[in-house]
C-alpha cells in the first residue's frame, strides 16, 4: 500500500511540471488589464497611505511629517461628526430604499402588461446622471424659487436650509436616484423564482402574504445581500449629490466623510491630512463590503460560481 501511494505521489509531481500541451492563453493576455488597473487603481491605494504620513499643499513635493495627520484626525471633532453623519445616511438610505425597492421589484416582476409599462417608467431616473438629479432637485426644492414654495403644505418647509430637515432631504434625493436600480435587481431576482413553488404553496393552502414571507423573501436572500452591499458601500461614498445639492451645508449639516476629505484637500489644500481621511474612507468602504459578504457567506457562493 505504502509503495503504491509513494508511486502515485511522484507521478502527480511530474504531472505538475509537465507543460500543458493544450493551447491555453498565457498570463500575458491578462497582463495589460492588470498593469492598467494596478497603475491607476492599486498604486493610488498605496500612495494614499504614504501621503497620509506627509504634508502636502498640492503644488510642491509631499514631505514626510510622521503621524501628524493621524493624531490630528483622532482629535478632529469635525471628522468624527462627518463619520457619524455618513453612518446615519447609510442607515437611513437603507431603511428607505430596501422596502420600497423590494415591494415594487416583486410587483414589477409580474408579466402583466400594465406592470411592464409602469415599470419602464420607474426606471427613468436611472437615465439621469447624479449631477442632473442633484440639479433637478435643488431647483425643485430651492427656498426662493423652488416648485415646493408655490405648493400648499410643502411650501412651509425649507428643505435645503434647515439643518435638521436637510439630512432627510438628502436621503430622499439619494433614494429617488437609486430605488429604481435596486428595484431592477429585485425584479430580476423575483422573476427567477420558479412558478411551481407558488403553485405548490397555493396547493398547500398558503395565502399571498404567507407566500411572500415563506417563498419570495427566502429566495431573494442573495439579492438582499447584493443590494445591501451596494447601498452601504454607495452611501459611504456618496459625494456628488451632496456637493451639488448642499455643498455640505448649511454649515456642516451634510458634510459627510468624502465631502470632508474633498473640502480639506481641494479647498483647504491640506492634501496630507485629506489623505488620512481618504485612508479612513478606504478602510470603511472595503471593510464594509468584506464584512457583509463574510457575514452572509456571499463570497462562498460567488467563489463556487467562479470554479474553473
Amino acid at each position: 500500500m505504502t509503495i503504491t501511494a509513494e508511486k502515485t505521489r511522484t507521478r502527480a509531481g511530474t504531472a505538475r511540471t509537465t507543460v500543458t500541451r493544450q493551447d491555453r492563453p498565457s498570463g500575458w493576455y491578462l497582463a495589460p488589464a492588470l498593469v492598467f488597473f494596478g497603475a491607476f487603481a492599486v498604486l493610488p491605494m498605496v500612495l494614499v497611505v504614504y501621503l497620509s504620513f506627509t504634508s502636502w499643499d498640492g503644488f510642491g513635493t509631499p514631505e514626510l511629517s510622521g503621524t501628524e495627520n493621524w493624531t490630528r484626525l483622532i482629535e478632529d471633532g469635525r471628522a468624527w461628526d462627518s463619520l457619524w453623519l455618513t453612518l446615519v445616511f447609510m442607515v437611513l438610505t437603507w431603511l428607505v430604499q430596501t422596502p420600497i425597492a423590494m415591494l415594487i421589484g416583486v410587483w414589477a416582476a409580474g408579466r402583466q402588461r400594465n406592470r411592464a409599462i409602469l415599470s419602464s417608467l420607474f426606471f427613468l431616473p436611472l437615465l439621469l446622471s447624479t449631477a442632473a438629479i442633484a440639479l433637478l432637485w435643488s431647483s425643485v426644492l430651492d427656498p426662493n424659487f423652488g416648485v415646493t414654495q408655490s405648493l400648499p403644505v410643502l411650501g412651509g418647509f425649507n428643505f435645503l436650509g434647515d439643518t435638521e430637515l436637510v439630512v432627510y432631504t438628502v436621503v430622499w434625493v439619494i433614494s429617488w436616484q437609486y430605488v429604481p436600480f435596486h428595484t431592477l435587481l429585485y425584479q430580476a431576482a423575483a422573476r427567477q423564482v420558479p412558478e411551481s413553488l407558488y403553485e405548490a404553496a397555493t396547493l398547500d393552502g398558503a395565502g399571498r402574504y404567507r407566500q411572500f414571507f415563506t417563498i419570495t423573501l427566502p429566495l431573494l436572500k442573495y439579492t438582499i445581500i447584493t443590494s445591501t452591499v451596494l447601498m452601504l458601500v454607495g452611501s459611504v461614498t456618496t459625494f456628488d449629490t451632496i456637493l451639488i445639492l448642499t455643498g455640505g451645508g448649511p454649515g456642516t449639516a451634510t458634510r459627510v466623510l468624502p465631502l470632508h476629505m474633498y473640502i480639506t484637500g481641494f479647498s483647504g489644500f491640506e492634501f496630507g491630512y485629506a489623505s488620512a481621511i481618504s485612508v479612513l474612507l478606504l478602510l470603511l468602504g472595503a471593510g464594509l463590503s468584506l464584512a457583509v459578504t463574510r457575514a452572509t457567506g456571499f463570497r462562498k457562493m460567488q467563489s463556487q460560481q467562479e470554479g474553473v
Binding site: G38, A39, L43, V106, A188, E195, L197, F266, Q302
Partner: protein, 303 residues
C-alpha cells in the same frame, strides 16, 4: 446556472394543452396570478407619481420663459412654450462639453473592452496561479471606493503632466470600471463550453486565433453589457473630471451642468434645459436597446 431553468418540452404535445399551459405560464406575478396585489399596486402608483412629477417639471420648465417660471404654477403646462432656453444652452459651451463627454466615453469604453476581453479569456481558460491571483486582485478592486483614490490620482496625473486633459479623466475612469467589466466578461467566457475551446485547439487554432474566431464572436452579449456599463460610468462621471480638469475646453457635461448652476443664477429654465439635453443621448439609448441598457446598469451586481 444556465441549465436550471430549462422548461421540459412535452414530447407529443396535445395542441390544446400546450396552449393552455402557455396561457397559464405567462401572467406570473411572482405567483399571484390574476388577483391584483392591492398593497404593492398602491405603493407602485405613489412611487410612480413621485418619479413622474419631478421629471415632468423638469421638461415643462425647460420650455418656460424666465418670467413665466417665476409666476406660473410649476405643474401647469407652459402657457407660451419657448425654445429660447435651449438656444441659450446650445449657443454656449454646451457642444464643447458634449463633445468632451463623448470623447471620454468612447475612449474609456475602447480601453476597457480592449483590455478585458483578452483578460477575461485568460482568466476563464488559464487556471495558473499567477493569472488567478491577478484576477482576485482585480476583484478586490470592486470594494475600493474611487473617492479614496482622488488625492493620489491627482498627484499622479500632475506628475505625468496630464492635468486638465481629457486623458486625465479617461485613465482613472477606465481603471475603476475594469473590475466589474472583467467579472462580467470572465463569467460570460466561462459559460462557453470547454469542448468548443478544445475543438479550436484540435482545429489548430492557437490562443490568438481562438480569441478571434471563438471568443470574440461568442462574447458579443458580454461586450455589449460591458460597453453599456462603462459608457454610463464614463458619461455620468463627476468626481474625476472635478478633480482632474479645470478649464472650459476640457469640461465634461456633468461638470458643465454644475457650472451652469452658478453661471445662470436665477435662470432656472436654462439650467433645466441643459439638464434635459444631457439626458437625451442616454434616453435615446434606452429607447433603442432597453434590454442592453438595463443589463449594463446591473452589471455591477453580478450574476
Amino acid at each position: 446556472m444556465t441549465t436550471t431553468q430549462a422548461t421540459p418540452a412535452p414530447l407529443a404535445p396535445v395542441p390544446d394543452m400546450l396552449q393552455d399551459g402557455r396561457r397559464r405560464r405567462r401572467p406570473r406575478a411572482g405567483g399571484h396570478r390574476g388577483r391584483p396585489n392591492v398593497l404593492a399596486g398602491v405603493l407602485a402608483t405613489i412611487w410612480l407619481a413621485l418619479v413622474a412629477v419631478p421629471l415632468y417639471f423638469l421638461v415643462a420648465a425647460s420650455f418656460r420663459t424666465r418670467s413665466d417660471y417665476l409666476s406660473d404654477n410649476p405643474l401647469a403646462p407652459p402657457p407660451s412654450p419657448t425654445l429660447e432656453n435651449y438656444e441659450t444652452v446650445l449657443t454656449g459651451d454646451f457642444p464643447t462639453y458634449l463633445l468632451n463627454t463623448v470623447i471620454v466615453t468612447v475612449v474609456t469604453v475602447a480601453i476597457v473592452v480592449g483590455l478585458t476581453v483578452p483578460a477575461g479569456y485568460a482568466v476563464a481558460r488559464n487556471a495558473g496561479r499567477g493569472v488567478q491571483r491577478g484576477f482576485s486582485l482585480m476583484l478586490v478592486g470592486l470594494a475600493i471606493p474611487a473617492q479614496a483614490a482622488i488625492i493620489p490620482v491627482y498627484l499622479m496625473i500632475t506628475q505625468l503632466h496630464l492635468y486638465d486633459t481629457l486623458l486625465a479623466v479617461i485613465l482613472p475612469t477606465a481603471a475603476f470600471a475594469m473590475p466589474v467589466a472583467l467579472l462580467v466578461m470572465t463569467n460570460s467566457l466561462r459559460d462557453i463550453p470547454r469542448e468548443l475551446y478544445e475543438a479550436q485547439t484540435l482545429d489548430g487554432a492557437g490562443p490568438f486565433a481562438a480569441l478571434r474566431h471563438l471568443v470574440l464572436p461568442l462574447a458579443k452579449p458580454a461586450i455589449t453589457t460591458v460597453a453599456v456599463f462603462t459608457s454610463l460610468t464614463a458619461w455620468n462621471g463627476f468626481l474625476f473630471p472635478l478633480v482632474l480638469t479645470q478649464s472650459v475646453g476640457t469640461r465634461v457635461l456633468t461638470l458643465g451642468l454644475w457650472d451652469y448652476q452658478g453661471q445662470f443664477g436665477t435662470n432656472v429654465p436654462a439650467l433645466l434645459a441643459a439638464v434635459t439635453l444631457s439626458v437625451v443621448p442616454i434616453f435615446v439609448l434606452y429607447l433603442v436597446g432597453r434590454r442592453y441598457l438595463l443589463s449594463g446598469l446591473t452589471a455591477g451586481a453580478g450574476k
